[in-house]
Subunit: 304 residues, 2 copies
C-alpha cells in the first residue's frame, strides 16, 4: 500500500492529510503553525518532528510512504525551500519529498483537473491579500502581499482597519455617518469611538482580530450603508487589480484563465465575489478553492 | 526681576525658554522628550526635575519666577493635566503654573496678537497630523490625530508610507512607473523594491524615518512625476478636510479665521501650503507657526 502525505503549514495552524493511493484518508490532523518567520527553524523542525511521529501512528507498518508535499507560508527564498526539503527527506527515507510555498498549494487546490499544464492564478484574501500565478510554461509570479503597512489591499485586515477609520472620520465630521459606528463599537463592547484607539494600538489585539471586522462591513453594506458599500467596492477593486496585474505580467493567453479564490474573505455568499467578477475580464473563470492541503496532496500524488 | 518660563514637551525632545518680563532670553534649552505615553510618569518627572535644576542655574538668585506654562504631547486627559500641574507647582513654590496640551501652545505660537479671544485653528503636520481649534467662547475641539494605523492622514508618515507603497505597486505593475522608485531605493541604499520590506517592518526603522521620505514626494512632484503629484494632492485634501471639519464643528463665524500651520511638513516653500490654500474657504487665513515653545511663553506671560 502506497501512502501520500500533504501538508499545509500556515502561520497559525498546520493541516496534514495522509491518504492511500486510492484516496482513503488515514489521518487528517491539525497542529500548531509552522511559519519559519514566526516560529524559527528550530521551532518548526521540532513541531514537524512531533507531527511526523503522530502521522506514523496512523500509517500501517506494512505501508510505504511514497510521497510528501509540504506547502509553507514563509518559505519564499530558494535556500529555505531546499533546506526544508532536505530536512524533511531525511525524516522519510525512500519517500519523494517536495516543499513549495503556500500559494502554490492553494492554487493546486482549486485548479480544474484539466488545467493546461497546471496554469492559473490564485487570489488569496484572508487577514492579508496576495495573488500568485503560474503560466503554462511553469513561470511563476506574485503580485501584492506586501504586508499590513504597505500592501494587503482588499484583505480582511485592510477592510477591518478601514471600518474603524470610517467610524473615527464620521465622529470627526470628516465623512458621513455610518452604520459601522454602531456595529464596530458594539463588536468591541465600547461606547465611544475614542475607546477604539487603545484597542487597536494595544499589543493584545492581533491583525487577525481586526480582520474579523470585515464581516461587519459586509453586514452594513447589505443593510444599504453607503460608507460600507464604498469600502467593499474599493476592496474589490484592489483585489481585481492584483489579478489584472498578474494576467498582464504573465502574459496569459489562454481563453479561460482559472482564478482560484482562497481565504476567509471569500467564504460562501460573500458579495465580494460578485463585485470582483464585474471588474475582471471575461476570460477569467473564478473558482472556489478547496482547502490548500488538498493541493499539497495533489502535488504529492503527481510526485512534484 | 520677574521671570517667565515656557516649555514645549514633545515625544522626542523638550524645548524650554526662560525669559525676563522684558523679553531677554536667559535660557534656551533642548532636552529629552517628555511624553508620558512614551516615557511614563516616573521618567517624565525625573527628566523635568533635572531640567528644572538646569533652568535654575540660568536664573539669577534674586529673580522671581513668576509664571510657567508647559505644553505636553500626551496630556489629553484632564486628570493627567491636573496631576502634572500640581507636581510642577510643587517644584516652583509661589509661581503660577499652567499645563496644557501641545496643540494649544502650537496654536498660541501662531495666532496674530489681535486674535479675538485667542480663537483660531492650528493644523499640525509632522510625523503625524491633527487639527485643533478654539473658538471665541473658549470651546476647544480636535479633529484627526488618530495615529499611524487609523489616521494621521496627510502627515509625513502617511506620505512616506504611500511613497513606498507606490514603489511596490509600480513594481507589481498595478500602478504607473514613478520617479519615486529611484528616489526611495536610493534613500535606503537598496537595489530592489522587495528590499524595502525588512526596512519598513524592521524594529530599527521609526515612523519618523519613514516620514522623512515625504521630502522625496515633494521632490518628485516638483520634477513633474504624476504619481508623486497625486500623493501630494490627496495629502493636501486630507489636511484640508481636517480644517473644514473643525470650522463646521466649532461653528466658526469670524470673518477671518486664523489657521496656524505647524510641523515639519510645512517648512518654508512646501508646495503643500498652496495646495492646501486652494482647498480652503476664503475666510481662512493661513499663517506660519512660530516654534510652539513661544506659545507656551505667551500663555505664561498672560498667566494662563
Amino acid at each position: 500500500m502506497r501512502i501520500l502525505i500533504g501538508i499545509d503549514g500556515g502561520g497559525t495552524k498546520t493541516r496534514t492529510l495522509a491518504v492511500t493511493q486510492d484516496g482513503t484518508i488515514l489521518a487528517d490532523l491539525t497542529t500548531a503553525g509552522s511559519n519559519i518567520n514566526h516560529h524559527g527553524w528550530a521551532g518548526v523542525e521540532e513541531s514537524l518532528f512531533a507531527l511526523f511521529e503522530q502521522v506514523r501512528t496512523h500509517v500501517p507498518s506494512y505501508a510505504n510512504v511514497a510521497s510528501l508535499c509540504l506547502g509553507f507560508a514563509g518559505i519564499d527564498r530558494e535556500p529555505d525551500r531546499v533546506r526544508m526539503e532536505q530536512w524533511t527527506a531525511a525524516q522519510w527515507p525512500g519517500a519523494q519529498v517536495s516543499v513549495v510555498h503556500d500559494a502554490r498549494i492553494a492554487l493546486e487546490a482549486g485548479l480544474p483537473p484539466d488545467a493546461q499544464n497546471r496554469a492559473g492564478i490564485v487570489l488569496i484574501a484572508g487577514t492579508g491579500s496576495v495573488a500568485y500565478g503560474r503560466n503554462a510554461a511553469g513561470l511563476e509570479a506574485r503580485v501584492g502581499g506586501w504586508g499590513y503597512l504597505l500592501g494587503d489591499e482588499g484583505s480582511g485586515y485592510d477592510l477591518g482597519r478601514r471600518a474603524i477609520t470610517a467610524v473615527l472620520r464620521a465622529y470627526d465630521g470628516r465623512d458621513p455617518q455610518t452604520l459601522l459606528s454602531t456595529l464596530v463599537l458594539s463588536a468591541y463592547g465600547v461606547q465611544e469611538p475614542t475607546e477604539l484607539l487603545p484597542i487597536v494600538y494595544g499589543e493584545s489585539t492581533s491583525r487577525g482580530q481586526v480582520a474579523k471586522l470585515a464581516r461587519l462591513v459586509i453586514e452594513a453594506a447589505a443593510a444599504g450603508d453607503s460608507v460600507a458599500q464604498g469600502l467593499l467596492d474599493s476592496g474589490a477593486g484592489e483585489l481585481a487589480a492584483l489579478v489584472v496585474a498578474l494576467l498582464k505580467k504573465m502574459n496569459f493567453t489562454a481563453r479561460h484563465v482559472p482564478v482560484v479564490l482562497a481565504g476567509g474573505l471569500f467564504s460562501t455568499g460573500s458579495p465580494l465575489i460578485e463585485l470582483l467578477a464585474s471588474r475582471l475580464p471575461d476570460s477569467v473563470e473564478l473558482r472556489p478553492g478547496q482547502p490548500p492541503v488538498f493541493g499539497a496532496l495533489r502535488l504529492a500524488r503527481e510526485g512534484r
